[in-house]
């Protein structure tokens, strides 16, 4: 007789205590696996998908919050420090999640297709790159020919100040770029925003003469980081030293710090997006997306509202740009290509435009696919190719498989497929957006679901 506990958990994982157990089990399982084999991708995927279970299973909110905090603030940093590749993946997931949330406001809420979103990311990055490095003193020199012992313009800690400044600078750029074109129809606007993305990239690449603002293609380095208080490193070591297994250096701590900063920005973005969504502005955006003519008839000033969406979306990208400059200590025009804009767009489309959890899921999926899965597959493939293993059934020697078939090389193919298949089969995305249910006094229809 199979113990009732197990059959119950499989039959109705909905009710009562079971979902909590499943979430906890998944988290512990994931952490354990990563601990045992710190370099296996599968273990890491198991850990990351525990977020998915956390979101999906019905459990009471406070429990979910606690588990969420434990996962993001304790488990992930520790796992990250043990294997800095995981921390980099987690960091990039949070960076792209923030960008996707920003773009989500423009595409998901206001229904404006922005193909040059990375322009605002670049504005933020070059803002801190210029002020946080010696570039001010390099103005008169051609790229590469400047003397090496130049002073820094500002102290490193001005980084936090510039994270706020970026909000307004990027929002202003959004308004400047948006004002002339937001009257345009959807497809024209898409092409014009694509133009903006390219214009900003070309400017970044060419503003090295007459005055050398961006140091052209050489990029700007070294860019300062906020100082890392030694106390923080000690506290981290004291707390997690045992679990981590080795002394954590300030350099590693910087990775953790920037991850936590990105997390903080995401929390702020989700907070702001939720608040805006559930208000006059949010309803106006959704109305514009649903039916512009009807929205106008309700007295909604179309261009003003679209501009607001553009500016808010841009400011988030600006902040993340400053974060990128700080974490990488190096900025060059290569990071702001059209491919990046399309990458972020496919995250929003895959996840579900207009839905906050969906967009975060989309960002995580695409980043993991791009950094881990594709790269892992092609590494595995090249390992097989160099061993004399043979595919069992058709005994086709791996070595003969052409080197051109590495999956990692076909990132564009992946983005292309995502966009096409999602549009045809699931335009609403993986987690479609639903408006928040309101507790209404006159709600007889609510009843048991």
């Amino acid at each position: 007789m199979v113990p009732t506990f197990w059959t119950d958990i499989i039959k109705k994982p909905e009710q009562g205590i079971y979902p909590h157990i499943i979430i906890l089990a998944h988290m512990i399982l994931g952490t354990g696996l990563v601990y045992i084999s710190p370099r296996s991708n599968l273990a890491f995927l198991v850990l990351i998908t525990s977020f998915f279970t956390l979101y999906y299973f019905k459990a009471d909110q406070r429990f979910k919050l606690i588990v969420g905090v434990v996962l993001t603030l304790f488990i992930l940093p520790v796992v990250g420090v043990r294997n800095i590749f995981y921390l980099e993946v987690i960091f990039q997931i949070s960076v792209f999640a923030a960008l996707a949330l920003g773009l989500n406001i423009v595409v998901g809420f206001a229904g404006l297709l922005d193909l040059g979103y990375v322009a605002f990311y670049a504005v933020g990055a070059y803002l801190w790159a210029f002020f946080g490095s010696q570039q001010y003193y390099v103005l008169p020199f051609a790229p590469g020919t400047q003397p090496s012992n130049l002073p820094f313009l500002l102290p490193g800690d001005a980084f936090y100040l510039f994270m706020f400044a970026a909000i307004f600078v990027a929002a202003l750029t959004g308004i400047l770029l948006g004002t002339p074109v937001l009257r345009l129809r959807g497809d024209y606007l898409a092409i014009v925003t694509l133009g903006f993305g390219e214009v900003i990239r070309v400017l970044a690449n060419n503003l090295d003469k007459p005055l050398n603002f961006t140091n052209g293609p050489q990029g700007i380095t070294p860019i300062q980081r906020p100082t890392m208080p030694q106390a923080a490193v000690d506290v981290f070591n004291k707390l997690f030293g045992g679990v981590v297994g080795h002394e954590v250096s300030p350099a590693d701590m910087y990775n953790v710090m920037f991850y936590l900063l990105a997390l903080a920005v995401i929390i702020v973005i989700v907070f702001v997006t939720r608040r805006l969504d559930d208000s006059k502005i949010g309803r106006a955006w959704t109305a514009i997306r649903e039916d512009e003519t009807a929205a106008i008839a309700m007295g909604i000033p179309l261009v003003k509202m679209k501009l607001a969406a553009f500016a808010v979306g841009a400011s988030f990208a600006g902040v993340m740009g400053v974060l990128l400059a700080g974490s990488r200590t190096f900025i060059s025009p290569e990071s702001f290509s059209f491919m990046q804009s399309i990458g972020v767009l496919s995250m929003v489309i895959l996840g579900g435009s207009g839905s906050i959890p969906g967009v975060i899921l989309g960002a995580a999926t695409v980043t993991i696919l791009n950094l881990q899965v594709l790269q892992g597959l092609s590494l595995h493939l090249s390992q097989l190719r160099q061993s004399d293993a043979v595919i069992p059934i058709i005994n086709f020697a791996w070595a003969d498989l052409s080197t051109q078939l590495d999956p990692a090389k076909y990132q564009r193919l992946l983005f292309g497929l995502i966009l096409i298949l999602m549009m045809i089969f699931r335009p609403a995305g993986l987690i479609p957006s639903q408006r928040r249910k309101r507790e209404l006094a006159s709600d007889e229809a609510e009843g048991g679901e």
């Binding site: 229904g111 214009v199 070309v202 399309i342 767009l345 078939l405 497929l417 966009l419 096409i420 549009m423």
Partner: protein
């Protein structure tokens, strides 16, 4: 046969030629005037002096002497953009939809054409081919490119666009962006599996590279020759032929009228017994073939192509189509020429006029700013969609 000849209405055939000459001359004169005026103003300033030190010739003579060559170059690239823009305009006319993947259909045409010629080259046929045979092989390559690109365009419409025909406006556009990226990597995959090469190079054969000298001038001490390479002439002639053929097809044949009818009113057209889906596929076929031919011509003129060759010309051609008045074929023609001229004038003279501060690398930004200005101040484009005039 006699009946067929009688049925060709000649004025319709020649109409675009008149427009071609008018647009080309018009834009040349207009832009030359601006360049010369600017040169006069800047001559006295420091810009004039630095040029004088360098080439001991006044800014004005420098601008004047270079003008014809810049105009011809502008015209050549203008016709390339016009030929590609036709593909965008055809599809937009019928479906009010920007076929973002047209740039990759153009690239596929280029690749198929070049691969045919490389295959012929490896068999050693091209090397010693007579001039006549060289042209025949070129035409063969262009036809190959057209068929491949046309077929691909129809397939793309059938798979990625038809299911979305009644979706909201942005959905098919996002799908088109997806198709564009997918095709870029598919070309790269096929190329790397078959030839292992990334760059493909248009084999040199026939007299395409030789140059026809039109005039000899001297600027100060340096002799300046005004001329065009045979391949530029071929590009212009083929582009003109394509425009004339398309114009004739759309304006003087039954199928062409059906295309225009569907463009104006899908439901009523179906009440005339026109199978709307078939006409839309046909439009993609014709648009794709034009794109394919433009691709092979591009490869002929610029020698090297790679799987990502379509992106920038595609964007420029779209700007040209919008500049001329999207959906309006003559508009694509006008937009292409004007954009080509503007870009070449900017590229050639901006470096000198701004003493190197803003050189030709701003040429592309120039094209985008034109697009944005046109969309703001005259969204229906120069030719204007609401001008009650033949398409």
């Amino acid at each position: 046969m006699k009946r067929f000849l009688k049925s060709i209405n000649v004025p319709e055939l020649l109409r675009p030629l008149g427009q071609l000459i008018f647009f080309s001359l018009g834009s040349t004169i207009f832009l030359s005037a601006i360049a010369l005026v600017l040169a006069l103003i800047l001559d006295r300033t420091v810009v004039g002096q630095t040029l004088f030190e360098r080439l001991n010739v006044s800014l004005y003579t420098y601008t004047l002497v270079n003008l014809p060559q810049v105009a011809i170059d502008g015209l050549t690239i203008g016709f390339v953009y016009a030929a590609i823009a036709l593909g965008y305009t055809m599809v937009y006319g019928v479906l009010e939809f920007i076929n973002f993947a047209h740039s990759e259909i153009f690239a596929v045409g280029a690749f198929v054409g070049v691969e045919i010629l490389i295959a012929l080259d490896t068999f050693g046929i091209l090397a010693d081919a007579s001039i006549l045979m060289a042209y025949i092989y070129l035409i063969l390559a262009i036809l190959g490119g057209m068929l491949a690109a046309g077929g691909l365009a129809v397939a793309v419409e059938r798979v990625a666009y038809r299911p979305l025909r009644h979706a909201s406006r942005l959905v098919p556009l996002i799908s088109a962006i997806g198709v564009s990226f997918l095709l870029q990597d598919v070309i790269r995959l096929v190329e790397s599996l078959t030839t292992g090469q990334f760059n493909r190079i248009f084999p040199t054969f026939g007299n395409f590279d030789s140059r026809v000298i039109l005039a000899k001038m001297t600027m100060g001490t340096t002799p300046i020759t005004l001329g065009m390479s045979i391949k530029s002439i071929i590009v212009i002639v083929s582009a003109v032929l394509m425009l004339v053929a398309l114009n004739y097809l759309v304006n003087a044949t039954k199928i062409g009228k059906a295309i225009r009818a569907v463009a104006q009113d899908h439901p009523t057209a179906s009440l005339m017994g026109i199978d709307v889906n078939r006409i839309i596929s046909l439009t993609f076929l014709v648009g794709g073939m034009l794109g394919g031919a433009a691709g092979v011509l591009y490869a002929l003129k610029f020698t090297r192509i790679d799987p990502f060759v379509g992106f920038f010309p595609g964007l420029k051609a779209f700007t040209a189509a919008v500049l001329g008045g999207i959906g309006n074929m003559t508009g694509a023609l006008l937009g292409g020429i004007v954009l080509g001229m503007l870009e070449t004038f900017a590229g050639s003279y901006m470096g000198v006029f701004t003493m190197g501060a803003a050189g030709s690398e701003y040429k592309d930004i120039f094209a985008f700013s034109i697009l944005i200005l046109v969309l703001i101040f005259r969204p229906q484009g120069l030719m204007g969609a609401n001008v009650a005039q033949k398409a």
